[in-house]
Structures are given as structure tokens and as C-alpha cells.
Symmetry: C2
Subunit: 269 residues, 2 copies
Amino acid sequence: MNRQQLIDQIRQKKSYLCVGLDTELSKIPQHLMADDDPIYSFNKAIIEATSPYAVAYKINLAFYEQYGLSGWKSMEKTLQAIPENCFVIADAKRGDIGNTSKMYAKTFFETYPYDALTVSPYMGHDSVGPFLEYENKFTIVLGLTSNSGSADFQLLETQDGHVYESVLKKVASWGHPNNLMFVIGATKAEKFAEIRKILPDHFLLVPGIGAQGGDLKNVSLYGLNKDCGLLVNSSRGIIYASNGFDFKEAAANEAMKLQMEMMTYLQSI
Amino acid sequence: MNRQQLIDQIRQKKSYLCVGLDTELSKIPQHLMADDDPIYSFNKAIIEATSPYAVAYKINLAFYEQYGLSGWKSMEKTLQAIPENCFVIADAKRGDIGNTSKMYAKTFFETYPYDALTVSPYMGHDSVGPFLEYENKFTIVLGLTSNSGSADFQLLETQDGHVYESVLKKVASWGHPNNLMFVIGATKAEKFAEIRKILPDHFLLVPGIGAQGGDLKNVSLYGLNKDCGLLVNSSRGIIYASNGFDFKEAAANEAMKLQMEMMTYLQSI
């Protein structure tokens, strides 16, 4: 999916919601555990319930890798259950020297049909470059993350602002808004105005609302641009809204609440 | 394997060589391609040929993930082919918010029996912490990497030295030499003396000799400590020494040459 197609989906659904599939066996409804592949059954149901309200899905690879081969199988099947009009993100935080990043790019952009992959910037230019060579695929580079540890290195002061600001400026110069996005945590809503000065056009993937405490209103107020420019992710707040027989309805309801709030903010752009 | 057992292996084999299994179908000998799992056949042969000279193996996950499920199967089987007295590293550069890093730790330290995992420090304390909770497992955090892109962010100047120096100091305070190592590229041999002032006791995983141009002599001169404290990795220079019928002998020969050179440097500690 390219940038314009993503914007069209956002306009149609009046939503910039991304649903995070951080699926854990210990948290899904008990009645699914008899299924052959409970993770897939759960994900499929969640996708069916939330896809009227979400424009994107984010698969958090760690949750699948923990189960080894069977987890990768569940991940593969989950990918097939996501409707074609949704933008699909591999949240895998990959990145390595050039010849190795090339293999990760192949994994997520060829072997598997993801639209986007999260990438860590620590190793610099040649670690990010191979991902940018794909047309109509997005590299989503970590900028300022939502967790408490983000202060340790991302907020170190350099001669040119904080480390994360150097990351945003330098990485933005390696690509363009059609192949690059950045992760900016919702818990840093006060930074969005400054970040929009550095990145007026890029989409930002924003985790951290819900369980992590970020605030959709402020993120939207300072983060929206003329094309929307935001994908706001919620994982636990939607997918674990209930662990009973009503889990689909509960997830749909939480997704719908976020979508309705987003619709009001979209009216201002 | 714990730190003392690793040191014992280094003393027995008179080697601090790590062989990197960056295995690609396009580079292995043609006659293996008829096997059921050519990647596994190749790795098994390389391991048999090099294990007299190597104390560690490093599996570069990207090379396996690119083939999807079949790649993960080859990786699983490869793990089983590595002798028990070798230290096994998952080179996966993982790292995410706390609840997700916990899943990656489970993947590589429970689901799979790795001794160590490479981790990116960009997301800070809670992204590294979950890996450090395992006894007799090592978290190998990226410090100063061997690639050209390392200059982009690792060498930014902060009030407290370069970014990578902040990483070494801060991350070292979260663990100890029994559960932490750092990646320092061989192409930065001139930095090893300074780095040893910050990290006198930690093991350093050193990629970048051979294909990337790093120099074993200088790395050893400035990097060895009283317990050795180095694992020097070679991947392409060993495993692709020949792609003919003599690939095992050629790999053994390259590994032996490095081991013999290492033996002379070990005499000085």
C-alpha cells in the first residue's frame, strides 16, 4: 500500500487507528484454547470485529517468536486474515549492518507481504538503507519511544539537540514521506509540536495510548497534519477489552470509541 | 554457559574465535543443494570442521528469517548441531518496551537454548532489563558497531562523551560482567584502549575482521584483558572460504589460522 492509498483509507473510514496484535495465550478467552491454533482464532476474530474501525494492524513479532515455529505459523495465518484495504506493520525493531538488513528487508517485504517494518536507528545509514530500496513499502524508524527507558539515550543532549532529534533529521534525509515513517510515543504528546517542525509531512506511528497512559486528544491536536499523518496504535486496550465470550464485541466497541473520537479530530484538518 | 565456563573453554582451546553462521543458499556449495535442508547440511559440516578451533557460534537470525518457516526450522536444527561446550549467540539485535523485550528474552533464552542474544540499546533501561533477569545467560548490547553507519548516531558528541560511551557506561551499571557483554566492531581497533578503561572486565563481541577489514592483531593488543574478554567473530571469511567440495577443509583451515594467531596473543595475558 502506498501513502496515497493509506490516506484514502483514512478518509473513508474516518479513522487513523492501528490495532496492535500483541497476542498472548495467557490472556485470550479460555474457550478458544481448544482450537488448533488459538492465537490465530483470536486474531481472526479481533480483525473481523475491528476492521470497520481500523486502517492498520501491527503484528508484534516478539509475541509470536516466543512460541518458536508454531508462533511463526500463527503469524503467517494472521497475515492472511487481514483485509487487503488495511495497512500491515511488522513491529520487529530490526536493523543490522547493510548485508544483514538486506535479509531483514527481504523477510518482511518479500517473504511476507507487510507494508511496513519498524527499524532501530542505532547502527546508522547502512542499517536503514536496504529497507528504503523497496517501492510502496515503509520503514518506520524509532524516534522518541513511549517507554520510560526512552530518556536514557534518546534524550541525551548533543550539539544539535537531543539524540532523537538528530535521528529524525538525519534519517529523514535518507528517504522521503513516501517510504519513511517514525515512531513517536503517545506519552510524549508535549513533543509533537516540535517534532512536526522537523517532520511536517511524514506519518508518525504512535504507540502508547491506553495501557501506557498516552492521550489521544493531545497527540491529535499537535500531531495531525493536512494528510492526517498519524497512525495511533492501541493493543491491550482493544484486544483484551474482555476475555469472555463477548471478547469480539468488547474489542469492536473499544475500537469504535477510538474511531469516533478520531473522526472529530479529523474534521479539523 | 556461564562466564567461568566460557573462560575455561577459551583456555582449553587457546582460542577466542566465534564463527558466524550467516548462511545464504546462493553462496553454499552447489552439491549441497540436493539435500532436504541445504542450510542445515552446510551449517552442520561447518560446525564439525571448525569446532576444534572455535569457542562460540553466532547465528545471524536475518539469514534464516528470510526463508520464513523453513528458515526457522534450519535454525532450530543448526542449534542442535552445535557441541555443548560451545557458547551460542543469537545475533538478532532485538529490543523493545519492557513487556515485549520479555517475550524476546523468552524466545531466545527459554524456547531456544541460546547462551546469549544481541540487543539494541536505543530504547533504554526497560528494553534491556528483561534480558538481564536470566541467570547464566548473556545480553550483548550494541556499543560501537563495525559498519560505516556507526558514525551517524553512536559517535554523536554529548556532554558525557560520545553516545556509545554513554551507552557503555549506563548499560554496564544495569548488570555485571556475568550477564552483560558489548558489541565493539573490529574496524574500531584504535578505540579499544579507551573502551577497556570504561569496561575493564566485560567480554566484548567483536565482529568485523575479514570481509569488513578489521585487524585481529590490534583488536587483541588493546582488547584482551586478564580473562581474555574477547570473542572475535568471523563469518564470511571462514564459512565461504571455498564453495567447492573442499568447503569443510577450507573453513577448518581459515578457522585454524585465526586460532593459531589467537594462541600467540593469549600467551601475553
